[in-house]
């Protein structure tokens, strides 16, 4: 087993474990800590897949901004931020549905070739040519969606409404 495969296996185990822990622990602040580790772990997988720009973006946007936003949401909505969630029973139906999703997807994965392929790497400049070329349609679309989303968010939280 090569070093890259070993690294991927370790990262994959950490990703699934931290995602599960984040959704199962009862203290919301611990959830944020686990999900931060999950995001950093995914950034490491992007670096392993030779997509350094996406890795940095994942660290900046997810591990940075999204984590802090979620923490802010918890701070605003609770009186004591370390208070515990009420325990929710894990019913058999959600577990079964999640397992069905997983098994369905894995059975589709099983039809792909199993052989090892060299990872195709791209220069970040090629990605920027694709993103900013032809008048930057990708980024304009992203900017418009973000503008609409932030306007909607401000509309929702504005003061003095009845």
């Amino acid at each position: 087993m090569s070093l890259e495969e070993l690294a991927f296996l370790a990262l994959a185990v950490v990703a699934v474990a931290t995602a599960l822990l984040a959704l199962l622990v009862r203290e919301l602040v611990h959830t944020i800590l686990w999900i931060a580790i999950f995001f950093v772990d995914l950034a490491a997988i992007y670096f392993l897949l030779e997509a350094p720009f996406l890795g940095v973006l994942q660290l900046g946007v997810y591990a940075g901004a999204v984590t802090v936003l979620l923490l802010f949401g918890i701070m605003v909505t609770r009186k004591r931020i370390f208070s515990r969630e009420a325990a929710t029973g894990i019913g058999p139906i959600p577990l079964a549905l999640a397992l069905v999703t997983f098994i369905f997807l894995v059975s589709a994965v099983g039809e792909l070739p199993q052989s090892e392929v060299p990872v195709r790497s791209y220069a970040p400049s090629a990605l920027s040519v694709l993103l900013f070329g032809t008048d930057g349609a990708w980024l304009l679309l992203l900017g418009l969606v973000m503008l609409a989303g932030v306007s909607g968010a401000i509309y929702l939280v504005r003061e003095g409404r009845d």
Binding site: L49, I74, T77, T88, A98, V109, V117, L156
Partner: protein, 106 residues
């Protein structure tokens, strides 16, 4: 040069989507619900990056990475809107339990 098998990666994103579905179905706290959606969304973004790294028929998979960039931006927007809903819900109902958000009118 890194060589890896594609199937392990797809198995990981399938597992992450399963975890996300599980979280969406079990948790009642709006913020935990948002986190579960983020986990599921990250599974999708991961798939785009895989297929950019392993393009079919030796073509260029660079648009996969471009879509991943756009999706990361969409996810950040989604969290911002989700938290605005959390704050509005908290102000109106005094709770962020989704089971008590029974009407659409905010």
């Amino acid at each position: 040069m890194t060589t890896l098998a594609l199937t392990g990666f797809l198995g990981l994103s399938a597992a992450l989507l399963g975890v996300g579905v599980f979280g969406i179905l079990t948790r009642r706290n709006f913020i935990l619900l948002l986190i579960a959606v983020e986990v599921a969304m990250n599974a999708a973004i991961l798939n785009f990056v895989y297929f950019a790294a392993f393009p079919p028929n030796g073509g260029s998979g660079l648009s996969g990475q471009a879509i991943a960039v756009v999706l990361i931006g969409f996810a950040a927007t989604e969290v911002a809107v989700g938290l605005a809903i959390v704050l509005a819900l908290n102000r109106l109902k005094g709770t962020i339990n989704v089971a008590q958000a029974t009407d659409l009118k905010l």
